[in-house]
């Protein structure tokens, strides 16, 4: 069973969301999306021959996160300055204010670091896989730069698979089951 893990190569790091942690993997003949929530893993496959296009729609997630995190860091930082400059009557009170102000300052710095990292990671996006049955949204990746790396990595596999002669595209499974007699 340990050999199962070696069949797949990771395409994107884990992307945290409300539905769980999502990641993309490259299989022998298909693209695999894994969404993990608690102990449950859900799999979604797209075979190379069925993938017509990969589409990344630029979104404002990065700006929104920067605004929220930056504003939070700014408010906490201002609070830290106020606390550190607050008047105190006893040494013990002064020590307490310094401790609280320092903790708030550290939190503000962390928020600022998160905002800077979010900016450096580049524009955010939502990725879709286009197949003959339409476009399906992927839970990962969330960055344009990662999307472009994934496309470059997938392109030789898709072009090889789609250049092979033989049956291509999706088949209507329903008709086959309707027609197949019971053994």
């Amino acid at each position: 069973m340990a050999s199962e893990g070696r069949r797949y190569q990771r395409l994107s790091r884990s992307h945290f969301g409300l539905n769980g942690t999502a990641s993309l993997w490259l299989g022998d003949d298909h693209l695999l999306q894994v969404v993990s929530r608690g102990g449950w893993e859900q799999y979604r496959r797209w075979f190379f021959r069925d993938i017509q296009a990969l589409i990344a729609r630029h979104n404002a997630a990065r700006l929104i996160w920067n605004f929220v995190v930056g504003l939070g860091g700014l408010l906490i930082g201002m609070g830290a300055i106020l606390v550190l400059n607050a008047p105190s009557t006893t040494p013990g009170e002064r020590a307490g204010l310094v401790i609280v102000g320092t903790i708030m300052g550290v939190i503000a710095v962390v928020f600022l670091a998160v905002a800077i990292a979010n900016t450096l990671l580049g524009p955010s996006c939502t990725v879709y896989v286009q197949t003959p049955l339409g476009a399906e949204k992927l839970s990962a990746p969330g960055r344009i730069a990662v999307f472009e790396r994934i496309v470059e990595r997938l392109r030789p596999h898709l072009e090889t698979a789609q250049a092979q002669p033989g049956t291509t595209g999706l088949r209507d499974v329903g008709a086959a089951f309707d027609q197949a007699p019971n053994p």
Binding site: M1, A2, S3, E4, G5, R6, Y8, R10, S23, D29, L32, V34, S36, G38, G39, W40, E41, Q42, Y43, R44, F47, F48, R49, Q52, A53, I55, A56, R57, H58, C125, T126, Y128, Q130, P132, L133, G134, A135, K137, I144, E148, R155, L158, E159, A161, Q162, A163, T167, T168, G169, R171, D172, V173, G174, A175, A176, F177, D178, Q179, A180, P181
Partner: protein, 210 residues
């Protein structure tokens, strides 16, 4: 019954904006590979592959050629000529019954996750569950100590899940997670020891009237 192609824009070599479903022409892509939807103003980065230009083979119940004298016939349709064999059970299949999975061909009966576990669409990873049960109460001990009467069940559950998952199939991409199971078992043991310690302390203080 034919394969559903409506809404894909495939025949006109267009595709739809994923946000507003407006039909878009890939020829309008700029040199950087970006395309803007004029209806919702979404900016799209599009990567097209050869399958975009090749419509899928249309399939209907009439698919497959009629078998001639002496020719191999489909297992499910004796009047149709066999074209491939099922990679799993070896049955002869006509064009309609052929279920292509990448480079493999399987029959409709074998296209079943109970027979082909590699096609399963979900899996419970017991080792990961064991680690969650074992680690979270230990990390949040000040909180979990207030609910110590639940710790025997949580800790026992972590140990049981870790042991039960040891020889079971693990994650499809990560394989068996023995390390997680070990962490979960250790966390469960720590929880049980913590409960035993707390109960012992309570009994001791009760006996000595403190």
């Amino acid at each position: 019954m034919t394969a559903e192609l409506e809404g894909s824009g495939l025949r006109d070599r267009t595709f739809r904006c994923p946000k507003c479903s407006q039909e878009l022409d890939p020829a309008a892509t700029d040199p950087t590979g970006s395309l803007q939807c004029l209806r919702c103003l979404s900016v799209l980065s599009v990567a097209l592959f050869p399958a975009f230009d090749t419509p899928p083979k249309e399939v209907s119940t009439a698919s497959g050629e009629t078998a001639g004298e002496g020719e191999a016939v489909c297992f499910f349709h004796p009047e149709k000529r066999a074209e491939v064999t099922c990679a799993r059970c070896g049955r002869f299949l006509c064009a309609l019954c052929d279920m292509p999975l990448g480079d493999r061909h399987v029959c409709p009966k074998c296209l079943d996750t109970s027979k082909m576990p590699e096609l399963a669409n979900g899996r419970f990873v017991g080792a990961y569950f064991s680690m969650l049960l074992g680690v979270i109460p230990v990390i949040l001990f000040p909180i979990s100590a207030g609910c110590f009467y639940l710790l025997p069940f949580v800790g026992g559950g972590a140990i049981a899940a870790g042991v039960a998952s040891w020889n079971k199939p693990g994650s499809l991409v990560h394989g068996r997670r023995h390390g997680m199971a070990v962490v979960g078992i250790i966390g469960g043991v720590l929880q049980l020891l913590g409960v035993a310690g707390m109960v012992s302390a309570m009994i001791y203080s009760f006996k000595h009237g403190k």
